[in-house]
C-alpha cells in the first residue's frame, strides 16, 4: 500500500456518509471498521479480476470508473458500470468461493476501498452493527438489481436510454459509448442515434 489510509480523508468521509444512510454510525464506530479495509489502486484499463480467478474482495469505489462484463461468444456483455460510492465485485465468486465468470476492468485510474471475505465475516462476528449494515446494504443491492432487471424487461430502448442519461449524466462523459450501450442492451448504432436526438433536444414526451 503506497498511501496511508489517512491520505484518503475525503473519500473516507464519503464512505462514512454512505454507510450512515443505512445505520447511524458515529465517527468512533466507523473508525473501528477501518483496520478491516484495504486501499487498492489501479491504473486505467486494468483487469481487477479475470475469469477463472476467485474473487477475494468486496469493493467500494473511492474514485474512478469500473465496468463488469461477461465474455460471451466473442462479445463482452457489460453487466455493471460503477463509479464513486458504488459497490462492485464478482459476487457469485465471492460468496460461493468459485471461479469468476465475470471480468472487472477499470476504465479510469481507480481506487477501491476493499474488504476480503474473511475480514468481512470477522467484522460480522464482532460487531452486531456490521451485521445490520451488511443486511441493509445487501437489501439495497437487491432493490437496485431488481430495478435494472425490471427496466430491461419492461422498458423500451428509448426509455432505458433516457432514464440512464437522466440518472447518470456524468457517466456519458466518462464511459465509452459502446459500454453504456452494452449495459443498457441497446445496439451501438441505436445508442448513437438516441444521443444525437437528445443533443438536438428532440426528446419528446418520455
Amino acid at each position: 500500500m503506497s498511501n496511508s489510509i489517512a491520505s484518503y480523508k475525503d473519500a473516507l468521509d464519503r464512505l462514512h456518509h454512505y454507510l450512515s444512510r443505512f445505520v447511524q454510525l458515529s465517527k468512533q464506530e466507523f473508525n473501528v471498521f477501518l483496520p478491516y479495509i484495504e486501499i487498492r489502486e489501479f491504473d486505467k484499463k486494468v483487469k481487477v479480476i479475470d475469469t477463472g480467478e476467485v474473487e477475494r474482495y468486496l469493493n467500494i469505489v473511492a474514485w474512478g470508473v469500473v465496468r463488469k462484463y461477461l465474455p460471451v461468444r466473442n462479445m463482452e456483455l457489460t453487466v455493471q458500470l460503477a463509479s464513486e460510492g458504488h459497490i462492485i465485485h464478482s459476487e457469485l465468486s465471492f460468496f460461493y468461493r468459485t471461479p469468476s465468470s465475470a471480468v472487472i476492468e477499470t476504465l479510469e485510474p481507480t481506487v477501491f476501498f476493499s474488504i476480503t471475505y474473511d475480514s468481512l465475516q470477522d467484522l460480522y462476528d464482532r460487531f452486531p452493527k456490521a451485521e445490520r449494515l451488511g443486511r441493509l446494504i445487501i437489501s439495497d443491492l437487491f432493490i437496485k438489481k431488481d430495478d435494472r432487471f425490471f427496466d430491461q424487461l419492461n422498458k423500451d430502448t428509448r426509455e432505458r436510454f433516457l432514464e440512464y442519461v437522466r440518472t447518470h449524466p456524468q457517466m456519458l462523459q466518462r464511459v465509452p459509448q459502446k459500454y453504456i450501450a452494452s449495459y443498457l442492451n441497446i445496439k451501438p448504432e441505436t445508442f448513437s442515434r438516441l444521443k444525437h436526438l437528445l443533443r438536438q433536444g428532440k426528446r419528446g414526451p418520455a
Binding site: 461477461l70 460471451v72 459476487e91 460461493y96 460480522y124 452486531p128 445487501i138 437487491f142 424487461l153 419492461n154
Partner: protein
Amino acid sequence: MLELLRQFVSEFVSLTDEDFTILAERIVVRSFDKRAELLRAGEVEHYMNFVVKGLVRMYFYKGNTEVILNIAKERELISSSSSFFSGKPSNYTIETLEPTTMLSLTRDHLEEIYQRNSRIERLGRQMTTHFVLQKEEWEYECIRLDARERFIHFIERNPDLVQRVPQKYLASYLNMKPETFSRLKHLIKNNKVRPIKS
C-alpha cells in the same frame, strides 16, 4: 410445517430452540385456493412467504403479455422482495397456481425480531444475499445460455415442475416462445437432447 422451515433456515444459520421460537411466534399460516392473488402490482408487499404446500408464480404485464419472473414450490421463499425491502409499491403480481399453504412473516415483525436477536438478523442478511446471488445467476444464465441450455438446466433442477406448471408459464419464465418450449420438450422425450456437461 414449522419443521420444514426449520430445516430450510438451518442451511443458512444454526438457530437455537429459543431463537427459532422467537421466529415461530410471529409466523402466520396462510392458505389459498388455486388462482388466488396474494399481491397485486401497485400494492406494497408486507409478507415474506415460505411455501409449505402448493405452487405460486410472480409476474407482471408487459403490454398484454404476462412475463413470469419466479415460480416457487415447496420449501422455497416467495415475496415481491424488492417491495418488501423498500416499502415501495410492487412491480409484480403474485398468484397461486395450486391450492397453497405458506408460512408468512410480515416486514414489521421481522424488523422487530432483528432488533432483538442478532442471529436472526444474520439469517436475514444471508437470505437477502441468497436472493441477490439468485438474481445474478439468473442474469448470467440469460446472457450465457441459449434457449436449449436454459431449458435443460431448468428441467434438471425442477423435473416435477414440467408436470405441475402450464407450459406457457414455463416458457415465459425461461424467456422463450411456447413453440420453442414444446419443441425442446418433445426432443427431450425422444432423448435427442443431451444434458449439458458443465
